[in-house]
Every structure is written in C-alpha cells, then in structure tokens.
C-alpha cells in the first residue's frame, strides 16, 4: 500500500461551496495573518523610520540598515553571530542527530525496556530551555558545580575547566547542552521511521549475505532520508532562532568574549538594551535576519525535496 503510485487524493473538483471554503480556512488565515504576518510587515515598515523611544519620528529610508551594518562594534558582531549560528547548526546536526539516530537504532534492535528508555531520553525536552540553561550553569559552575567537583575527585583535575567562562569551550558546551535537551526529538522521529520500513527488505538483504552493518547502510539508511530531511529543516530553524538557552547560559552578551553570541541575542540587545532609536534599528536587524533565515530555509527545503523525489 505504501509503494506504487498513489491515486490522487483530491476529489470532486470545484464542487465545494465558497462558504465552506471560507469557513474552513478563514479562522486559521485570520489568526495567522493578524498575529504573524502583519506584525512582520509592520516591523518592516518600522525599520524605515527613526524612533525617539516609543514615538515614531522622521522617515529614515535605509538609514537604520546602514546604521546597523556599519556602527562599531555592532556591524562587526553581525557576521560573528551569524558564524556562531552556522557552527551551532553544524554541531547540532553532527551531534544531536547522529546520537539520536544511534539511540534509535539501538532501541529498535533491542526493544527491552524500550518505553522506559524513550521516556528517560526525552525527559529533558519538557524543561524550558531557560531553566535548562540555569540548571547547567549551576552544574558547570567552577566553584560550586558538581561537574568539576566530580572530575577533580576522580583525579582528572586537568579536565576541570571554567566551561562557560572559557571562550574555547563555551560554544561546544552550548551545543552539547542543547543536544542533551532535544535528543529525544530526532530519536523518536528516527525510531518511528525505522518502524515504518518493511521488515522484508532487510531480510532480503540478509539472505543475499550482506552483513548487518552493510544491510543498515544500503537498505535502511536510504529509506530514512525523508526523516533526515524533516529533521534538517527543523534543526535549521531551531538553531537560527535560538535565544532562551544562550541567554540563560551566557547572558545577553553571549558569554565570554561573545563566544556564544548569536543572531537572536543580537536582536534582543538592539531591541531591548538599545538606545533611543532601538525600535528602528532592531526592526531593520529583524528584517535582515528574517530574509536570511527564510531564504536559506526555502533553499534547504527545495534541495531536500528534490533529493527525496530523485531517490
């Protein structure tokens, strides 16, 4: 049933009344337009004005954009923050999703206590990222944190570090903490996808004499590609929108020497810790971030879809 060309699911072309169409689509459309689309368009509009606190002053044209891009040190912080977002995305894809896949495969092969493990692995997902951040900054504190304390008491003194205070370790720690929280997502999605792959395919490969590792990579992995696609897009959006966790781990400055500074924090600082023209400047910045995320996400989605069709 799952293979072979699907019959077109739509039927009774053109016979549904306009009233029904409106009644079914308008509630969602209204909510979505009023509270998501209109505010973004408004922000775009705000970005063209100079602001005096919360009062709109003169038309500024592209002045705010120019100000944001050229003012020292803000102009220099934008590419740095963007780069951190990229690193964060790459690191998360590499760690969270491979470990998630690994755990899913282990659980799939070994269903004993499966429910228990699924629950435990996904538990951190329930905690607000902000609380996760506070929690880990308590655990990683150099003076009172259990992590360094344990390392020191098992003789690994040289491993004890000011984790969140050292520019070299701050970003990797951020990636790991984030992965710790979200690992349940990819794991559940992969597990569901694995469960959906017909058993016969692998048995056929086993009969052909392929090792189980070979069988996994050549038979099952390609069939997981749609799941990988979904996870990639979700991870991308999540990574470029990150705010709460970094804020809790490193404050609004983005940790030591700005080592964890990301676009979300940059926007927060311009909007809520900015000066008199904060609304104008932060709206301009918001638009640039929006165009970037939206553009990349669309390209990413297209690429993945093409690949899915091709396979």
């Amino acid at each position: 049933m799952t293979s072979g060309p699907r019959r077109p699911a739509r039927y009774r072309a053109g016979r549904t009344g306009l009233g029904w169409i409106a009644g079914f689509t308008l509630p969602a459309l209204l909510l979505y337009s009023l509270l998501i689309v209109v505010p973004l368009v408004t922000a775009f509009y705000y970005g063209f004005f100079h602001w005096e606190g919360t009062q709109r002053a003169g038309f500024a044209g592209l002045g705010n954009y120019q100000e944001v891009l050229t003012r020292y040190p803000l102009g220099d912080e934008i590419p740095v923050a963007l780069w951190h977002n990229v690193l964060f995305f790459v690191g998360t894809m590499a760690i969270q999703n491979t470990v998630g896949l690994g755990l899913a495969v282990l659980l799939y092969r070994n269903p004993r206590c499966k429910r228990f493990f699924q629950t435990v692995f996904s538990l951190p997902y329930l905690i607000s990222p902000l609380i996760v951040g506070y929690l880990w900054s308590l655990l990683l504190s150099p003076s009172f944190g259990p992590v360094n304390y344990v390392l020191q008491s098992v003789g690994l003194d040289s491993w004890a570090r000011p984790w969140l205070g050292d520019p070299d370790t701050a970003l990797p720690v951020l990636i790991l903490v984030n992965a710790w929280q979200w690992i349940g997502g990819p794991m559940l999605i992969f597990l569901a996808a694995l469960g959906g792959i017909p058993r016969e395919l692998e048995e056929a490969a086993a009969l052909d004499g392929a090792s189980s590792a070979r069988a996994f990579w050549s038979v099952r992995f390609p069939l997981l590609m749609p799941a990988v696609g979904v996870i990639t897009v979700l991870t991308f959006i999540g990574c470029f929108n990150i705010f709460d966790l970094v804020y809790a781990l490193g404050g609004s400055d983005g940790g030591p020497g700005g080592a964890m500074d990301v676009l979300g924090l940059l926007y927060y600082r311009t909007a809520f810790e900015g000066g008199t023209n904060a609304i104008g400047e932060s709206s301009a910045l918001a638009m640039m971030i929006f165009v970037l995320i939206f553009g990349v996400a669309i390209v990413l989605e297209r690429l993945l879809r093409r690949r899915e069709v091709a396979s």
Partner: protein, 297 residues
C-alpha cells in the same frame, strides 16, 4: 498502519537466524553491550536531574561546601520555602489554562484549514497552502514589538486571551504542515462513502475526517504543547501581573530572587518538573504511537 510495532517483535523471537548456537552467544554479548550503552545514556540524560533532586534535600551551606553529596536529613524545609515564596501553584494553573486553550485552538483551526487545503480544489489553494507553510520558517519573535503595540491598542496586554491567540497563531504553520502531509497519504474512500450517504461538509469533517486524522492531531498536539508550556519571552513582555504569570516566567523571577540559595532553587525546580514528568510518562505511549503513525505513511 497503527500496528507497526507489534510485527517486529514477533519476527525477532522467531528462530529464523542461521547457525543458532554461535550467533546466540554473539548476540547475547552484543545485546548486553547495547543495554550498557542505553543505560549509560540514560544516566547522562537523567543524571543532572538526579543531582537537582538530591540537592533539593540538602542544606545550602552544605552544597556550597561540597557540591556533590548526600543529604544529611530528609527535611522538606527547602520545599516549603520554595512553595511559599514562588506561588508556583498560581503559575501552574495559568500555564495549564494558556497551554491547553492555545493548543486546542491551534489544532482546531489548523485541522479545518489543512482538510480544506488537501481535499478541496479552489482558486488560490496552492498559494494559500504556500503562505501557511512558509510560516514554518518565519521567526515569529521578530514581530514582537508590533504585536505589543497592537495588543496595547486592543487592551490585550496582561490578558491570557492575548497570549492564547498568539501561541495558537504561531503554531498554525507547523500544524497545517503536518496534517496536510498526513491527509495526502490518507485514502479518500471513507469520505466518498459518507458523501454518497448525503453527509454535508461539516458533518463529514466532524464524524469522518477528524477521527481519521487522530494520529496527526496527536503529533501536532505534542509538538505544540512543550514549546508553549516552556515559552517565557511572550509572557515576559505581554503580561504584567504576578497572578497571571506562567511557570517559566515565574521561575525566572524565582531564580532571580534565590540566586544565592541553591538548595531552594533546586526544590523549586523539582516542584515545577514533577507534574510534567508524570503527565509525560503516562502520555508516552500515545505520543509514540502517534509519531509512528505520522512518520510511517
């Protein structure tokens, strides 16, 4: 479609493997290794929470002296202090109200729109679908300031209704995306049969389509629930009075107040986490079967 988990288990126990004895020993060892790995990760996932739980029973001075250690007594002083000062009870009720209402609203309107978009053909359908789906990529928080001013003029500042509407709206793209994907793989026979029986669109949606959609609705609910429950940014800016705060905002206040008193902090964390953990443990089965059904189209 819903029973993808059961057949595997049956195949596993079937003695189909070639070379039974040697393979058995090998798999036995391997199985132990797999168990070990799983338990190791479980320790990693759960360990920090256990540290918090233990810490919540200890004395603050004790924690400062020795970060890891067992409580000297099982006193509930920390819990009492956390419960009394943090008014977590109020925050909890607010969080439940706001989250349940917004997820319900979001799933309802999204299910209707997704049904229309995937089953009916009308002008502008593709454009409308694209408009909704593109919302997946919109960082909605960037529109916070305009939302604030809009709410101010509508008198929705410091109102839980405003919060509910906002959360519902921001969940629509993802919900429509998932439900439309699900509908695409759903055969239309039942709907056609109902149509022949003379059901109108509304009746059909409620009595035929909604029950069929259930797995997709479960996935959407799960994925909307946690982020809404955990969000702190919107209520921070849009809510004013203490008695309308949700748990995350309340907790940040609590964290500010007790920054130096780790023991009380830990107790507060435990209070905030336990109910959710219980709900989650009970709901896991439904969450997982929903996801499985959603993914294995």
């Amino acid at each position: 479609m819903t029973s993808t988990l059961t057949p595997q288990r049956r195949t596993r126990s079937s003695p189909a493997a070639p070379g039974p004895r040697t393979a058995q020993a090998g798999t036995g060892l391997r199985r132990a290794g797999v168990q070990l790995l799983l338990w190791l990760y479980a320790a990693l996932a759960f360990g920090p929470l256990v540290l918090v739980l233990i810490g919540s029973f200890r004395d603050n001075a004790d924690i400062l002296r020795q970060p890891v250690g067992l409580p000297t007594s099982l006193g509930l002083d920390n819990y009492q202090r956390a419960w009394e000062t943090a008014s977590l009870g109020t925050y909890f009720v607010n969080s439940v109200l706001v989250t349940v209402a917004s997820v319900t609203l979001c799933v309802t309107v999204s299910a209707m729109a997704a049904y229309a978009l995937s089953r009916w053909r009308f002008r502008g359908r593709a454009l409308l679908a694209a408009l909704f789906i593109s919302g997946l990529m919109i960082p909605a928080k960037l529109g916070l300031l305009p939302v604030f001013y809009m709410y101010q003029s509508l008198g929705l500042i410091d109102s839980r209704v405003g919060l509910v509407l906002l959360y519902a709206a921001s969940g629509i793209p993802f919900s429509i995306f998932v439900i439309m994907g699900f509908m695409r793989g759903l055969p239309t026979e039942l709907e056609e049969a109902a149509k022949l029986d003379g059901a109108n669109e509304g009746r059909m949606f409620v009595s035929v389509v909604l029950p069929l959609m259930r797995p997709a609705l479960a996935v959407v609910t799960v994925f909307q629930f946690a982020p809404t429950w955990n969000d702190f940014f919107y209520p921070l800016v849009l809510m004013r009075s203490d008695d309308k705060y949700t748990v995350p905002v309340g907790l940040t206040r609590f964290f500010g107040e007790f920054a130096a008193d780790r023991a009380t902090l830990f107790a507060g964390l435990v209070i905030a986490l336990v109910p959710l953990a219980i709900v989650f443990a009970f709901a896991t089965k439904h969450i997982i079967s929903g996801l499985t059904a959603g993914m294995s189209r």
